[in-house]
């Protein structure tokens, strides 16, 4: 028996839920995550504070859900699963460059920058939220790489002994590193280099 009282989610106000998502995203965009407060979200959403505390454990949780919802919303708007796959033209190198370039563009898009940085940062420090961040936002993306790399392995474009779960990090890891810590700019050229280095190795053959 968990929290002395579990709210009845069938009676939950959809209206408020949406308003809270909107307010949260808007505020993070406008003033940044740190200066976004639960009181502020409630006020902006025209909602009582309790309505937030009833359904979410923390500011970060609200934002995470809002962000996930944003993706769901976008996807539904596109009718179904648009570009939800890494293309398979048979040319692995080209396909990977294509997605990595797309990822670079997305990471450079200022609309997504603030909220996703905020979530990532919070996840770094808060394991519970980090797990949900990974599970709901990151993992689905990574699975696409697993799938594509496995296919490439079947097709003999990747060595048999390679584990796709690890291999994908050669692409995603450096990108995330540059993005999170801003060690250097994220460019298409960089994405290309990454793919080339990773596929062909650093050592001479």
């Amino acid at each position: 028996m968990a929290d002395t009282k579990a709210p009845d989610s069938t009676r939950r106000s959809e209206r408020s839920r949406r308003a809270i998502y909107d307010a949260a995203l808007a505020l993070v965009g406008e003033v940044g995550y740190a200066r976004t407060t639960i009181e502020g979200i409630a006020a902006r959403a025209g909602v009582g504070k309790q309505t937030i505390y009833r359904w979410w454990p923390s500011k970060a949780a609200v934002l995470l859900e809002a962000f996930v919802d944003l993706g769901v919303q976008a996807n539904e708007a596109l009718g179904g699963d648009a570009d939800t796959e890494i293309p398979d033209t048979g040319d692995l190198e080209a396909d990977l460059k294509f997605v990595l370039r797309a990822t670079v563009d997305e990471l450079n898009d200022p609309r997504h920058d603030a909220p996703s940085r905020a979530l990532a940062a919070e996840g770094v420090v808060n394991p519970e939220l980090g797990a949900r961040f990974v599970e709901q936002l990151l993992e689905p993306q990574l699975q696409l790489y697993v799938k594509r790399l496995s296919a490439a392995r079947e097709a003999g474009q990747v060595r048999r002994e390679i584990d796709p779960r690890i291999a994908l990090e050669l692409f995603v890891g450096p990108l995330a590193h540059r993005w999170l810590l801003r060690t250097a700019p994220l460019t298409h050229a960089y994405a290309d280099s990454l793919v080339e280095y990773a596929l062909h190795g650093l050592a001479p053959r």
Copy 2:
């Protein structure tokens, strides 16, 4: 004409500075970064709050300096530059595995975990601090890779067209990724795989 009034750093109390570093690191270790407060640091250090506000712009800045100082201190204690180089035995693969395993151990060390996560997270969200984090803590490490990889290139163990600045991210990026987002455990085996994959490439030869 910066802040309407710059304090006179020649009159700064070294005593207070040290006490603040110590208090900050201790508190972050004990209660975590989020619940470490400037008031708490001041109280623990036996120092007025103003003395902190006079010299640092934020909690994160205090901690960053404290952390950097910790490194400096440790280095001096060791008389000079102990293990401040990546070994060069002539066997690049072995040397890289060696350092990466050491890095894995360090990242898994709970004493350094809390404060460095906190700093990294703050840097993700706060560009100014992030820049200082990178410059003072990360970059020196990265330079060691640049140096070792350049040597390897001279020795013909790395292809001529490889840019060491980018190459190093194939090792460091995935490690940081796993560490920051906890997508999977950091093990020596993982470090080894990374080195092998990156040096020899994913594609068959």
Copy 3:
């Protein structure tokens, strides 16, 4: 359009209000007005600081209300309006000596001395508070004099052309003067002299 946000007084906590009055009076009694702080009052009352700032503009305002409430409380305790009148025995001189002696005793009472001095001092310097001090604490007393002196005038014990509003100050003014500035001790003999001098005049008849 007053303060951008007026609190809803129907929701006010009576419990807190009382606790704040008690704490304020206790502290002023114990450490004096100057060393009584809002933080101290809040802590002693077991109340958040904001609860004080929400309802009062200043420390002096809290104390004034607490003091007024004290009077109200005392009066209610006595069932009704005990000694809330200047007696009228027909002998004006005796009646005035009686009240002035009582006032002298009250002013010499150390329990009331500290808080009422503090309020008076604050009122001297802060017109707004001074007005409320006069209106809520002083004026009701003065009205008693107006009433008694008017009766005396009707009875022919005071000259027709005398304005009671001014006449009362011949009694109250000197008393207040001695009390506030401590120019000389406040005694019954002094009270008596005042009454005699004022009633019969300084000039020979």
Copy 4:
């Protein structure tokens, strides 16, 4: 053997003393007593804080001295003791009305209002300062009344049994009362009434 260290007043900087007086009076005039700070006075006077703490025990003490000095200064400027006496034309009533009217004018003068109210208020609450306030500023004035009233008693214009020390308060007390507590406006008419009431008494003759 008082304060562990008595400063050597022969080496005191006259320059600083004057600058502190000026700064103190100017600040009280500009921002009021409560918001005048020792730091502010020091900064304005171009003086170290210690120089103030060395020579005065409190803000109020500085202001009191500055105020007294103002009077001395003014008097010296007038070559000697201008209007430092209550006139004696033989007509006591006229003479008293004259001085009381002058006092009313002075109390209504906004230049003297702020600082003298501040000092009076501080004296109400701080006995030590109050004593010095009375002794240095008030008492000299009161002595003038004592002198004039004594002369009047000798001349038979005041009853033999009247004590001038008390009698003077019938004039000064009500005036101070109105001024300090702002119970009613201070006018010449009021001053006149006071003199008439006090001299001839309230009771019919």
